[in-house]
């Protein structure tokens, strides 16, 4: 058996590690035989040398083996989950889980928290007072069985190796590395016990993958590894060059989700159409992958119908009730969800078309407002957020409101709103000539 130092050297020199060697390394990370300072040197070597497909499969398997794995076979129905690689304003899960359940799937959704510019489903759900994202295993199964979906955080006993490695990657510049991303995502999805998986791989200025080429590589690897691990999967490459929908912020994203679930035809509808379209498309793929429909177009039809007839909205209400959330907040979200008492408005600098947006900056502005996290131990303020009045391609008049910013109450060292507005203005481009708007969904890999 090689020493950890020797395994690091092999990877450093571009050798392919065997499944046994990767298992040994990951077990060592879990039990302390591989020191943290060896784990990070290894991760950096992987960053530079990459991993073959079979190494990535073996790494995923080794990480999965580091903890508990749920078996949901006692819950009747096909379990299909969706995972997004993360973006700004991405509240799809809140609508999609109840919608797919309303269409006949079981959705055992385990999500994460926001970190950096990227939001997290758990934070959004916790804007609803009392909503419990830490259900024990038996209760998780019960909600899944009775409601059709359950939305929780990952159990502590699942994939402990990923928890350790992710914390190390976060502070050592080794986050942006496809085999490590793939093993981290898939080991957790395999542990939660889903039967199939739809992956929403985001591309653009607000995504971790800024280029299509990188995103496509990630998507392809995710699908290939997932299949090798016995988990049918499909990846959809979707645009993240602007926030999804109009809301960026925890409570207001819940509000926007409810508007779609209720079928509101509000003024804001125009700005939510991408969110609705993406949700239906992802649902169609989940239904197709889960065998509920014969093809994706049929899936779209079914998803449309279940959104229209209010059954998805009903499932959402059941879900919130089952997980302990305050019902009055979701029945009267405009009045009862947490909100700030003051707001500022950022306006268009000139007349023209909104042609570009550095969406990561929008996520970072939310963090500065207190609505996201710089480090995992930070707490979030559910009330703050940004309401976008314009989407890419919109015509704007000079001085027209672009964004309403729900700001925290003024305190000694609150955010510097002038600085944030400057950052916002620098992150957008208004042009006198129209430019093509990126397609919302531009590739499906299966």
């Amino acid at each position: 058996m090689l020493t950890p130092a020797h395994l690091i050297q092999l990877k450093r020199d571009g050798e392919e590690l065997s499944p046994e060697q990767l298992l040994q390394f990951i077990q060592g990370v879990s039990n302390g035989q591989v020191a943290d300072y060896q784990a990070t040197a290894f991760l950096m070597a992987v960053y530079f040398q990459g991993m073959s497909l079979s190494e990535t499969v073996a790494l995923t398997d080794a990480m999965l083996a580091s903890g508990e794995r749920y078996d949901l076979s006692a819950v009747p129905g096909t379990k299909v989950d969706k995972h997004s690689t993360g973006g700004v304003g991405d509240k799809v899960s809140l609508i999609l889980a109840p919608l797919a359940a309303a269409c006949g799937l079981k959705v055992p959704m385990m999500s994460g928290r926001g970190l950096g510019h990227s939001g997290g489903t758990l934070d959004k759900l916790e804007s609803i007072t009392g909503f419990d994202v830490h259900l024990p295993r038996d209760r998780f199964e019960q909600v899944l069985r009775e409601v059709g979906c359950a939305m929780i955080g990952q159990s502590k006993s699942m994939v402990p190796a990923d928890k350790k490695l992710y914390a190390l990657r976060d502070v050592t510049g080794t986050v942006e590395c496809i085999p490590l991303i793939v093993a981290s995502i898939l080991s957790k999805k395999l542990a939660e016990g889903t039967n199939a998986l739809v992956l929403d791989v985001k591309v653009g200025s607000g995504a971790f993958m800024k280029s299509r080429e990188q995103a496509r590589k990630l998507a392809r690897t995710l699908v290939q590894v997932s299949k090798k691990m016995g988990l049918p999967a499909r990846a959809i490459l979707t645009d993240m060059n602007q926030p999804l929908g109009y809301a960026v912020g925890n409570a207001i994203e819940v509000l926007e989700s409810i508007e779609i679930l209720r079928g509101d035809k509000a003024e804001s509808d125009r700005c939510s159409s991408d969110l609705k379209e993406l949700t239906i498309q992802l649902c169609a793929h989940m239904l197709d992958l889960g065998g509920v429909v014969k093809n994706v177009p049929e899936g779209r039809k079914l998803a449309h119908a279940r959104l229209q007839d209010g059954s998805a909205w009903e499932v959402f209400q059941k879900l919130v009730r089952a997980q302990g959330g305050a019902m009055e907040q979701i029945l009267e979200p405009e009045r009862k969800l947490p909100q700030t008492s003051s707001a500022v408005i950022w306006k268009a600098p000139k007349r023209g078309y909104l042609v570009k947006m550095d969406t990561e900056v929008m996520g970072r502005i939310l963090v500065e407002l207190g609505g996201g996290r710089k480090k995992a131990s930070d707490s979030v303020d559910p009330r703050v957020g940004l309401i976008f009045h314009k989407k890419l391609g919109s015509r704007v008049a000079s001085g027209e409101p672009m964004v309403t910013v729900n700001v925290p109450e003024k305190r000694g060292n609150g955010p510097d709103l002038e600085l944030l507005e400057r950052q916002f203005q620098e992150a957008i481009e208004v042009s006198s000539t129209r430019k093509p708007v990126p397609k919302l969904i531009f590739e499906v890999l299966s």
Copy 2:
């Protein structure tokens, strides 16, 4: 000020770090603000991305600034030291320090211990009972002043950042990296207070640099960085495709050194001629660099003379006395230096010429015998060792003794001598056709 994680990312992405950033990072390593797991990720990023000359200078400077720096200006004379990048059977320092002192230089030599296949001067000196390599600063200065040379280990207060980083590099596959090697060597040499430095950069099967190209690059960087740091330096590229001299092992290397210092014309002389030649050549460069002579040929003449007339041998005796070593051991080394009571002989497998030797294997065999270290905390047995009867290019008869191996007393789990002999036989090549012997000294860089 950037976070450690951000600095790692910059290096990972191939950016050039500023002197301030490198100072911040090294200070962080020393004071704990940079975690060990961040330091190793950084080191691996440097392994892949390298460092520019000015980064390497700044890294050396930052490491030097992490600890105490000796000022030897109160000791009259020009201080010139020699550093070797390490090899097998390299006992040059034991002869060279007294020889250069006998020629008029002051030699403030701080050395290291053996690790892996490579031997260390301190271990060799400690074969002499009582020899104290841990002199306090004032005593070090006194010995240097009175004897002309002093040979000690690095003080604990010197370059603590290097101690920490070296220990981490050793277990994370980041030893073989030129900017890290250069900063490690030069920060220590700058801290010891020498005025000039001759570098013996080893190349070949027993060296860390196996190729001339790599060794040349290391040598060039060492000289360039050294000069930028205000330390005149010269590098000599020398052969390490076979052990230097005939002895590999701590006490017998002291014996071989004494034979040369005494000017013995023993049977073994033939096998020591490379050792003697290299010592004289290095001494000539030290004398030239230190301004004692006008050029290298004059330096050679002077070194020859001082070896011949016994003055180097006298300085060695003074040195041993000054540092507390047992005089009877060096006056009667054949009888009184530590030695084993048993030996085995490994013979030539066939008739021919000895044309090749994997010299690293020879170093590793010494480690297996107990004469070297696998890890820094191991202790060494000074008595064991290998006595080589043949050098590259020698004609051998089938069954003729190649090596005498001084082996430890048989114990329960002593070394497997049959296995070691097999390793030896696999590491040498005896051929019916002669091949050119590598030149001992093949390049000087200044």
